[in-house]
Symmetry: C2
Amino acid sequence: MSELVQRLRSTVRSIPDFPKPGILFRDFTPVLLDGKLVDDSLKALWAPFDGQVDIIAGIESRGFILGASIAVQRHMPFVPMRKPGKLPGETYQVSYALEYGNDALEVHKDAIPKGARVLIVDDLLATGGTAAASARLVEQAGGEVVGLGFLIELAHLGGRAQLGDHRIESLLIYE
Amino acid sequence: MSELVQRLRSTVRSIPDFPKPGILFRDFTPVLLDGKLVDDSLKALWAPFDGQVDIIAGIESRGFILGASIAVQRHMPFVPMRKPGKLPGETYQVSYALEYGNDALEVHKDAIPKGARVLIVDDLLATGGTAAASARLVEQAGGEVVGLGFLIELAHLGGRAQLGDHRIESLLIYE
C-alpha cells in the first residue's frame, strides 16, 4: 500500500449505522481538514488522466468539493451535475434507480461542448448507480467520458461493473 | 468598476422566472467554465482576508465549489456546512426561517477547533438568512467568524443587514 493510501486510510473515519442500521459509512470530511493530504490526493487522482481532459465534472454535492478543487488546480472548466430542479438553464437529465425509488442528475445543455473530454469526479464509488448515470449524462450532452475518479471505493458493492469500459481510478479501496 | 467585475458581470447569466415566476436568477455556472476567471475571482475574494484565516467553511452545495477551491489554493482546511442529516458524525445545528417554513445547517462538532478563525464562503448573498445561520453555526462550534465572502450579492434584498458586524466581501454586486 502506498504511503498516500495509508494516510488516507488512517484519516477517513468509519461511522457505523449511518445513514441507517447496518451501514458502515466512510466519512471523508476529516481528509478535508488536512490541506497537504488533500493536495497530494488530488494530484494522485489527476495523474492518470493528465493531458487527456478538457473539462472536470463533479456530482452533487460532495463531488463538488473534490471536482472543483481539481479544476482550480488545473485551471480547467468545472461542470456541476446536479439533482433535478437546481440548475436554472436548459438541461439534459438522466434518471437512475435507487434502492427505493428513482433519482436523476442534470447538466446544463451548453456546459459541455461536443467532443469535449470529461473527467467525472466524486468522493465515493459504491453501487455505481449515480456514477453510471453521470457517465450517461456526459455522453448525452455530447462529451466523451475520459474516466471517473473517486477518493474512496467500496469494492464489495460492485460499482465498477456498472461502469462498463470506462477507466476508473480510486485512491482508497475497501475490499 | 474593476476589470474583474466587468468580466464577471458579462459572464454571470440572468435567467428570468427561476425558480419561480418573478425571480431573476443570477447563475454563476458559466463563470466555472472559465478557469482563468475562476482563478482571478478566488484570488480577489481571498485578498482581504489573507493572513487572518485558519479554516475555510462552505455552505452546501454551491458554496462547496468556491469554498473548497479557495481552501485547496491556500492549502487550508475546508469544513462543509450541510443540510440536516447529511453529516455522519456528531453535529452542531442552527435553524433559520425561510420564506415558507424553516431550514437548518449542520457542522461536525470536531471540525472547528476552539478559537479557529473561519472564513465562510458561498456563491450568493441574497436575503442573508442562510449566511447569518452559517455565522451563528461557526460561533456555536467555537470558531471566530473572520468574514464572509460571496461571488455575487443581491444588495436590494438586504442580506448585509442580517450579518451584523461581520466583514463581508462580494465581488459582483447587483443594486
